[in-house]
C-alpha cells in the first residue's frame, strides 16, 4: 500500500467511532453567538423576536415599531425598544495544514502530524453536524485548496473526512498568511473556524489573518500540532538533519544543541500562543502523543466553564 493510500484510509479511520462517541457527549459552544439561517442551540448577537427578553434600548428612527414596549412607555414616558435573544445555527470551517512538515514522522505507517490534525478536525466536524450545525473543510500548503462548502446533512461527515484525509504534499512549503487570508475571505461572518497546523511558517505576519477572522466575528481555534520529537529533540549522536519543506541540511551534534534548541522551541510556542491570543483566537497545543479526544475535551470543557455552552 502506498503512503498516500494509507493516509487516506487512515483519515477515514480517523473518525474512530469510539472517539466520536466520547466527543459527541460534549457540546461545542461557540465563544460568540453565531449567526445562521436555521435556529439552533447557539446564541446569536442579533436581537429580534424571540421569547427570551434581553434588554431595553432607546428607540431610534427606523426601528421596527412592533418592538416598542408600550408598557414601558406608559411607565416612563419614553420610547423603549425590547430586545430578545434569537437562537441560530453555527457554521464551522475546518482548516488543515497539508504542508510537507506535517508529514513527520516520515516512517511509513507512522502516526503523522497530518493524520493527528485530520482526526482532530474530523471529530469537530462530526460534533458540529451531529448537533445540527453546518461544517465545511479546507486544506492548504502554500495556497488554499478549493474548500468543501459547509453543510449540515449527515453525509457531510464523510465528505469532511475524505477532504482531510489527503496526505501532505511532499516538499510543499507553508504560507500561513496567504491561506488564512483566503479562509477569511470565504468563511463569511460569525462562524467557527478551526485551524490545525504546525505553524512552521516563521515569517513575520504569518498569523496576522487570524485577526481578520476574529474581526469578522468568527470564533477561531488554532490547534498547534507538534510531534514530541520536535519538542524534545531526542537525538544523541551527531546527525545530518533534513527539512521537509526544502530547507538546507544541517549536520550537528543534537546532544550539544539540546539546551539551546529547547529554548528556541519554547520561545516559538510562546510566540505562537501570544500571537493567537493577541488576535483573539484560542490557542491549543495538540501533541501527537496526546489522544485527540482529550485535546477536544479540554477545549470544549474550558469553553463550557466560561458559560458559552
Amino acid at each position: 500500500m502506498s503512503q498516500d493510500a494509507g493516509d487516506r484510509s487512515a483519515a477515514r479511520g480517523a473518525l474512530d467511532p469510539e472517539v466520536a462517541r466520547r466527543v459527541s457527549t460534549l457540546l461545542l459552544a461557540a465563544r460568540r453567538a453565531a449567526e445562521g439561517l436555521a435556529s439552533g442551540l447557539h446564541k446569536s448577537p442579533h436581537r429580534g423576536a424571540s421569547v427570551v427578553f434581553v434588554e431595553h434600548r432607546e428607540y431610534r428612527p427606523g426601528d421596527d415599531l412592533r418592538l416598542l414596549d408600550w408598557r414601558a412607555y406608559a411607565r416612563t414616558d419614553r420610547h423603549m425598544i425590547k430586545r430578545f435573544e434569537q437562537e441560530t445555527q453555527l457554521r464551522g470551517t475546518l482548516v488543515l495544514d497539508r504542508s510537507g512538515s506535517m508529514a513527520y514522522p516520515t516512517i511509513p505507517g507512522a502516526h503523522t502530524k497530518a493524520r493527528h490534525a485530520a482526526t482532530l478536525l474530523a471529530a469537530l466536524g462530526y460534533v458540529l453536524v451531529r448537533q445540527g450545525d453546518l461544517a465545511g473543510a479546507a486544506t492548504f500548503a502554500d495556497v488554499l485548496a478549493p474548500p468543501l462548502p459547509a453543510r449540515g446533512r449527515p453525509a457531510q461527515v464523510e465528505a469532511i473526512a475524505t477532504a482531510l484525509a489527503e496526505p501532505p504534499a511532499e516538499g510543499a512549503t507553508t504560507d500561513l498568511a496567504g491561506a488564512l487570508g483566503s479562509v477569511a475571505e470565504r468563511a463569511g461572518r460569525r462562524g467557527f473556524v478551526a485551524v490545525a497546523s504546525d505553524l512552521l511558517d516563521l515569517r513575520e505576519g504569518a498569523l496576522a489573518p487570524l485577526a481578520q477572522l476574529v474581526a469578522r466575528g468568527h470564533d477561531v481555534v488554532v490547534f498547534h500540532v507538534l510531534h514530541p520529537d520536535e519538542l524534545s529533540l531526542p537525538f544523541d549522536e551527531p546527525t545530518r538533519f533534513e527539512g521537509l519543506e526544502g530547507e538546507a541540511t544541517l549536520e550537528t551534534d543534537p546532544a550539544a544543541l539540546r539546551g539551546a534548541y529547547t529554548l528556541e522551541i519554547r520561545q516559538f510556542l510562546e510566540e505562537c500562543r501570544a500571537r493567537c491570543t493577541a488576535a483573539g483566537a484560542r490557542y491549543v497545543l495538540a501533541r501527537t502523543d496526546v489522544p485527540p479526544e482529550r485535546t477536544l475535551a479540554e477545549l470544549l470543557t474550558a469553553r463550557g466553564r466560561r458559560g458559552w455552552a
Partner: protein
C-alpha cells in the same frame, strides 16, 4: 625519571582516536528528517561560540585522558634519595633522647633536641608504605610516646606534643632500647630497626647500646663529635640547707657548683631567690671542677612557703642546670606527744632522744595528764599515753577524732589505767579489748607476734630484738585482737603483749605493760629503745615528702596529713594541682625542675603551707656533663650514612590514574554542561 614498561607508550597513539572517530563519523552520519530544522539552526547559531569552546575542551580532555592512561600503564617512576632507610618496609622504633643535655645551646642554631625532632619527622616521611613505626622517649624513665602503628604519619602529632615540653630528664637509652625491643616484638614485618636520636654525650653511653641479632640499631648524634672539645658548662650540683644555730629564723644554704668543659677562672656569681626576689647573693671560685658558696636566707616557719631557688648568673652551654630548687625549712621530724606518768614518759622521751639522726629526727613534747586536754593534737603525728588514767569523754572524743584523721596513738598500761574505763572511752578505736591487770609469774621474754607483711601497720615491730629476757610481774590482759589488728608482740605464754590496728585513717597500738619499771623491767633492756622508736614511727603517719631530690618525670606520692581535706601542689611555673580524696596525692607532673610548694586545707577549707611536704625536682647531675661520648664517627654511624644515600623509585602511576579519573569527571561535566540550556548553565 624512568618507565617500567615503555612499550605501553604505544597506547598513546590512541590519543588520535577521538579525532579519527570524529572525522569518520562525519562521512556516515545518520539522516533524520526534522520539521523544526529552522529552529535547530537558530539554536546552533545561538550556541555556536559556547559549543565550540566546549567541543575543544572535550577534545583536549579526551586526548589528555588517553595520554595519561597510556603513560600510567607505562609505569613511570621518580628516583628519590631517601632521608633514611633503604626503601624497604620495616618496623621501626624511633628513640628520641629527651634528656636535659639535649637542650644544650649549640652556639647558634637549633638545639640538639629540636634537630632530633626534625630528623624524626624526616625518618617518618621516608618510611615506605606498609611500614610500622613507634616513638619512644629516651629520657628517664623511658616511655612509649606512640605505640607501634601501621600508620607512621600518626607519629606527627605525638612528635608535636613531645616538642612542646622542654627536655629536663636524665638519660636512659639502654632502658629505652629494651622498651623498643618489646614494642617491636609483635611486628609481622621481618625487618626491624631501632633508630636512636641522641646528643651522644658521654653520660648517655650510647656506645654500649646493642640490639639482638637480626635487628639493626642505628644511632644518630646531634651533639659535638667525639673528638670535639666539650662546651663549657656550670651547674648547681647540690644544695644543703642548715638552720642557723645562732640566728633564729635564718638558714644557710650550702651550694656546690660543678663545671665541665673547663672550669672558669673568674668567680661565678650565685644568687638565692625566693618568690622572685633575690634574698642573697654570693660568688663561687672554682677549684678544679667544683666550687662552693654559702648563701643565707630566711627559714620558713611551720606554715610558710619554703620554696626558693639557687641561680648561677651568666650564660653557658646548658641553661637548664643553672638553677636548682631549694627548700628553706628545718629538717623534717616526727612530732611525738608524750603524756602521762612522769616516769613512763621520761623513759620514752629518753628512748626517742637516742634515735640516730640517720633514721630521721623525732621531735618530742612531754605533758602531764592534766595538761593533755589543752594541747592541740593536730600539731603532732603520734600521741603516746603512758601510765595515765583513761581519758575523759572530751579528751577521748579528741583522741578518736585524731586517730580517725590519720594520727597515731600508742596506749601503754600502767597503774592509773582502768581497763574498763579505757574500753568505754576509746573502745571503737582500740585494736583489742583490755581486761583488768593482773599479777603473774610468767617465763621471761617477749617474742615477735604474728607474721606481718611489709604493708602491715605494725611491720616495723616485727624485727624487735633485745626483749627476750624481759621479766613481767603484772600485765594488762588483752583479748584476741580485732579482725584488722595484729599482735606484734606476745608474752611467753602466747598472750598478746602489743596489739596494733587501724581506726579510720590512723593507727592505734595497745601495749600490755607500762613504759616504766613498775610492772616489768622492759626499760632496762636493749630492745626498749628501738621498740619505743618503732612504735612512734609505726603508728604515726608519713607526713613528709621524700627527703631525697626527685628526678624529673618520677611520680611521687604525697601523704595527706591528719585532718587534711585538700592538698594543693604548685610547681615552679606556678601551675597548681589539687587533690581532694584519699590518703595520698599521686603526683605525676614532676617534669619541671625546681621546688614544688605544697599547701594543705583543713576542715574549714583554709589553705596553709605544709613545708614538710614541699619537695625539689632536679635533673640528674650527669646531664650537666656535656662531654661527647665515644662514637664511630662524628656524625652518623656508617650504616646510617649508607642508608641515607640509598635511592628508591617512587611510582607516579597512581597520580596519573588519579588524573585520568579527574579528566573523566571533567569530560562528563562538559558533556552535561553542553547538554543544558544556556540559561541553566549560566545560572
Amino acid at each position: 625519571m624512568g618507565l617500567e614498561a615503555p612499550w605501553a607508550l604505544l597506547g598513546a597513539l590512541l590519543a588520535a582516536a577521538p579525532v579519527v572517530a570524529h572525522l569518520a563519523r562525519r562521512h556516515d552520519l545518520p539522516r533524520v528528517a526534522l520539521p523544526t530544522i529552522a529552529l535547530l539552526r537558530r539554536a546552533q547559531v545561538a550556541s555556536r561560540r559556547r559549543t565550540r569552546l566546549v567541543d575543544v575542551l572535550l577534545l583536549v580532555a579526551r586526548v589528555a585522558m588517553i595520554l595519561a592512561l597510556a603513560l600510567g600503564l607505562a609505569g613511570p617512576y621518580r628516583e628519590v634519595k631517601l632521608a633514611w632507610g633503604d626503601g624497604t618496609r620495616a618496623s621501626v622504633a624511633i628513640i628520641l633522647d629527651d634528656s636535659l643535655s639535649m637542650a644544650r645551646d649549640p652556639g647558634g642554631g637549633a638545639t640538639p633536641f629540636a634537630r632530633a625532632l626534625a630528623r624524626a619527622r624526616e625518618v617518618v616521611r621516608a618510611l615506605p608504605a606498609g611500614s610500622e613505626a613507634c616513638l619512644i622517649a629516651g629520657g628517664a624513665a623511658p616511655r612509649v610516646i606512640a605505640p607501634r602503628s601501621g600508620d607512621p604519619a600518626a607519629l606527627g602529632p605525638r612528635l608535636d606534643a613531645l616538642a612542646a615540653a622542654a627536655p629536663t630528664r636524665g638519660t636512659a637509652l639502654s632502658a629505652a632500647v629494651a622498651l623498643a625491643l618489646r614494642e617491636l616484638a609483635g611486628s609481622p614485618l621481618e625487618a626491624r630497626r631501632i633508630l636512636v636520636l641522641s646528643d651522644g654525650a658521654a653520660h648517655a653511653r650510647a656506645e654500649q647500646l646493642e640490639a639482638p641479632p637480626g635487628m639493626s640499631l642505628e644511632i644518630e648524634r646531634f651533639g659535638p663529635a667525639p673528638d670535639a672539645r666539650a662546651p663549657v658548662n656550670r651547674s648547681v650540683a647540690e644544695t644543703v640547707v642548715v638552720p642557723e644555730a645562732t640566728a633564729a629564723g635564718r638558714a644557710t644554704v650550702l651550694v656546690t657548683l660543678r663545671a665541665s668543659g673547663g672550669a672558669p677562672t673568674a668567680p661565678v656569681a650565685v644568687r638565692l631567690e625566693q618568690r622572685g626576689r633575690v634574698v642573697a647573693r654570693g660568688e663561687a671560685r672554682f677549684q678544679g671542677d667544683t666550687a662552693s658558696v654559702s648563701l643565707e636566707g630566711p627559714l620558713a616557719g611551720p606554715q610558710d612557703d619554703p620554696t626558693a631557688r639557687v641561680v648561677i648568673e651568666g650564660r653557658d652551654a646548658l641553661a637548664g642546670d643553672d638553677a636548682r630548687g631549694v627548700l628553706l625549712r628545718p629538717p623534717g621530724a616526727l612530732r611525738v606527744l608524750l603524756a602521762g606518768d612522769d616516769d613512763a614518759t621520761r623513759a620514752a622521751a629518753q628512748a626517742l632522744a637516742l634515735v640516730p639522726e640517720r633514721e630521721g629526727a623525732i621531735a618530742v613534747r612531754r605533758v602531764d595528764a592534766d595538761t593533755l586536754p589543752t594541747v592541740a593534737l593536730s600539731a603532732f603525728d603520734t600521741v603516746l599515753l603512758a601510765g595515765m588514767p583513761a581519758p575523759g569523754a572530751e579528751l577521748a572524743a579528741a583522741l578518736r577524732r585524731f586517730v580517725e584523721r590519720g594520727g597515731g596513738l600508742v596506749l601503754a598500761a600502767g597503774d592509773p589505767l582502768d581497763a574498763r574505763a579505757l574500753d568505754a572511752a576509746l573502745g571503737p578505736v582500740l585494736p583489742a579489748r583490755a581486761s583488768e591487770a593482773s599479777g603473774t609469774a610468767l617465763p621471761p621474754g617477749l617474742r615477735p607476734g604474728d607474721s606481718l607483711p611489709d604493708t602491715a601497720p605494725a611491720a616495723p615491730l616485727r624485727d624487735a630484738t633485745g626483749l627476750a629476757d624481759v621479766r613481767v610481774t603484772r600485765r594488762l590482759l588483752l583479748e584476741t585482737p580485732r579482725r584488722d589488728a595484729v599482735a606484734a608482740l606476745r608474752f611467753a605464754d602466747g598472750a598478746p603483749a602489743l596489739v596494733v590496728g587501724t581506726a579510720g585513717s590512723g593507727r592505734v597500738a595497745l601495749l600490755a605493760v607500762p613504759l616504766d619499771e613498775s610492772w616489768s623491767d622492759l626499760p632496762l633492756h636493749p630492745g626498749f629503745l628501738p621498740l619505743v622508736a618503732r612504735l612512734a614511727r609505726g603508728v604515726g603517719p608519713v607526713t613528709r615528702a621524700p627527703a631525697q631530690v626527685v628526678s624529673p618525670g618520677d611520680p611521687i606520692t604525697l601523704p595527706l596529713p591528719p585532718g587534711a581535706t585538700r592538698l594543693v601542689v604548685t610547681d615552679p611555673s606556678g601551675e597548681r594541682e589539687t587533690f581532694r580524696e584519699g590518703r595520698a596525692a599521686p603526683l605525676r607532673s614532676t617534669t619541671l625542675p625546681g621546688a614544688y610548694r605544697v599547701e594543705v586545707a583543713d576542715e574549714g577549707g583554709v589553705l596553709r603551707d605544709a613545708p614538710r611536704l614541699a619537695f625539689v625536682v632536679a635533673s640528674p647531675a650527669d646531664e650537666s656533663d656535656l662531654r661527647p661520648g665515644p662514637g664511630a664517627t662524628g656524625g652518623m654511624p656508617r650504616d646510617t650514612r649508607k642508608a641515607a644515600s640509598a635511592r628508591t623509585r617512587r611510582p607516579l602511576a597512581p597520580w596519573l590514574f588519579l588524573l585520568v579519573g579527574l579528566l573523566a569527571l571533567a569530560e562528563g561535566a562538559l558533556r552535561f554542561r553542553g547538554a543544558r540550556p544556556p540559561a541553566q548553565a549560566a545560572a
